[in-house]
């Protein structure tokens, strides 16, 4: 049945808000075009020399200095999974980095699953899309990924091998679908 005048905006909103997940290949294609663009000759003064330095610093320096943010705050939980601000752009004075810093912090998620073939991160920041944020395998059974996130409270979980949903038993919320998710408060590192 077609929605009435009073109700058509709700299904419109739901369907038009539904975000496609085109995956890493589509984003890699964009970045390939951006890299080609970056190689094109520029007129003098196109980019401040400080910008590149500042951006690089913001993405690499803060790993050791950020605050652990796992909302469970239970040592046993952070041993298996963690979320950690690795970059705070607003501490660096370039326009792009500041603008990222105004709205987003880069958070490093780490999860231990030695026998997993694939691990994905799902949360309210990626519409719980299991194909959106894959973790990369690191040493000693660890899996990691960096995600740009807005400040505030988030909920997240890991999906192991496409089916196993792993929340956090020490500090979790129950979602409308009955699954459990960890809480994460993203704040500026001290």
């Amino acid at each position: 049945m077609l929605p009435s005048d009073d109700h058509i905006s709700e299904p419109l909103h739901r369907e038009l808000r539904r975000t496609p997940h085109l995956g890493a290949i589509a984003r890699a294609r964009v970045m390939s075009a951006v890299r080609r663009e970056s190689l094109r000759p520029r007129r003098a003064g196109w980019m401040s020399p400080m910008l590149g330095t500042a951006l690089a610093a913001s993405l690499t320096l803060a790993v050791a200095g950020g605050a652990w943010l796992h909302a469970g705050a239970e040592p046993a939980a952070t041993a298996a999974s963690s979320a950690h601000v690795v970059s705070l752009g607003s501490s660096v004075g370039s326009s792009l980095v500041s603008s990222i810093g105004d709205t987003l912090l880069l958070v490093r998620f780490a999860f231990t699953a030695p026998s997993a073939a694939r691990v994905a991160l799902v949360g309210d920041f990626n519409d719980w899309g299991a194909r959106r944020t894959a973790l990369a395998r690191a040493a000693n059974g660890a899996w990691t990924t960096d995600v740009a996130m807005a400040r505030g409270r988030h909920r997240f979980a890991y999906v192991v091998d496409d089916t196993g949903w792993v929340g956090d038993p020490s500090a979790s919320d129950t979602l409308p679908n009955g699954r459990r998710a960890a809480r994460l408060d993203v704040v500026n590192p001290e």
Partner: protein
């Protein structure tokens, strides 16, 4: 430019790519065109970074570039080949077949709207913008935008009722 700039920009692409694609698909109803304008938007944004003014939200700045690119492309060509079901994920509790039918019906109806109405609809319902935000983005007045949305909704209803009556 160095590798750090590219890395930082990749964060923006990760963050905004799918959202921009959502809008472009609503506007153009063509996957290839949508992907092309989104890529073009990011390249233009990268090129224009030195002119970016911090008082404007980054997402709004990107959307402004995208809206203009979509207007240009929409004026040139129109082939109905929108994103497919596989490009979306559905919640476990959703009736996927029902949702896909609604999506398809809605996409076909939206493709028949005038460009300005489709744009207003996508900004209002897809991007959840206020009419003031829409006015700032499009250059149109608030009352004109309200009228466009109303006409778009009325037209959608008529088109979708017509489809169902024909089945």
């Amino acid at each position: 430019m160095n590798a750090g700039d590219i890395e930082a920009f990749a964060v923006l692409v990760d963050r905004y790519h799918d959202r921009l694609t959502r809008y472009a698909n609503h506007l153009l109803q063509n996957r290839a065109d949508a992907e092309e304008v989104v890529q073009d938007t990011f390249v233009r944004a990268f090129r224009a970074l030195p002119r970016y003014e911090e008082r404007e939200q980054l997402s709004a700045w990107l959307l402004r570039i995208l809206v203009n690119r979509c207007r240009t492309v929409a004026a040139k060509r129109r082939v109905f080949e929108p994103l497919e079901a596989a490009d979306y994920e559905f919640d476990p509790g959703e009736d996927v077949a029902d949702r896909l039918a609604v999506r398809d019906e809605l996409a076909r109806a939206m493709a028949q709207l005038p460009d300005d109405q489709r744009e207003a609809l996508a900004l209002r319902f897809g991007e959840d913008l206020s009419f003031d935000e829409m006015a700032a983005l499009t250059g149109a007045g608030v009352s004109a935008l309200k009228m466009r949305v109303k006409r778009a909704v009325d037209r959608l209803r008529m088109l979708m009722e017509g489809t169902r009556a024909a089945v």
